[in-house]
Symmetry: C2
Subunit: 134 residues, 2 copies
DNA sequence: GTGCGCATTGACTTTTACGTAAATGTCGCT
DNA sequence: AGCGACATTTACGTAAAAGTCAATGCGCAC
């Protein structure tokens, strides 16, 4: 009995680099790091939609400021959630820590966005002043 | 005529490292990078409250993911907003870009927080299952 | 089959943001 | 004057995340 998933689209490496605005080096790097596992035909990589999805998540993690190690860990959790109670509890504690960190980060962003609005307004005012004299 | 600000508190480097949970190396590094300018008595640094405030902002920028160069630039803007119209317009464009980036980042964080909630819930369910058998 | 262009690989390099170690200075106390 | 506790300076180290470069391979259009 064979799994059949022939209808999944294949993506080439350059397609994905274009879609996500990253270099081929980056995607190969992620593969080296064990984050994605594109198939091969000869030496050429063929990416499944699952890889594409993973890449999306990796990039999101990157934007948030997660390290490769952290991202790998997260992916691992999705692939095989820990079964043992101690492991589970440990994981939940770390989740809690991460959550705190992210909430702080969100607050930081919000404060910064507000300040940026102020600066922008000041700029507009200043521009208007100058503009009058022009 | 002399400016008098004798009542400002001085902070030692270790006070600040303790308050902010960073190393002395980090604060000296920020000074080397021209982000802060503590005074000196002999070779010893004495930090004013303005430095302390700056450090707070620097660390916030760091948490958000700004590079030292970006942080320096932001500080610069606060110190002397550009006077010329072209400069102003350029700055506003870059502000706009940054804003977009930050908003994306905030969305990333929110998505991640949601997913974390899901994972956490799954963990709890799993724990309950195991717990029953224990 | 030859040339073209994209792919791949491996090795080396770079940048950022500090860490770390060693040697030396400084200050208050006794 | 000497001690201990911090501070400073200089210089080298390092980890993460790619960038860059050179050599080579593969497929296919002509």
């Amino acid at each position: 009995m064979q799994m059949r998933h022939g209808l999944d689209k294949y993506y080439t490496i350059t397609e994905l680099t274009r879609e996500f605005g990253v270099s081929t080096r980056t995607l190969r790097f992620y593969e080296d790091e064990g984050l994605i596992h594109p198939e091969r035909r000869g030496r050429t990589r063929f990416f499944r939609s699952t890889d594409r999805h993973l890449i999306k998540e990796i990039l999101r993690g990157r934007r948030i400021g997660f390290s490769i190690a952290e991202i790998r860990e997260i992916i691992q959790i999705y692939k095989e959630p820990p079964g043992e109670a101690g492991q589970l509890r440990l994981m939940m504690k770390r989740l809690e820590d991460k959550r705190t960190e992210l909430i702080q980060k969100r607050r930081d962003i919000e404060e910064t966005l507000e300040e940026m609005s102020n600066v922008e307004e000041a700029c507009l005012t200043r521009l208007a002043e100058i503009g009058v004299g022009t």
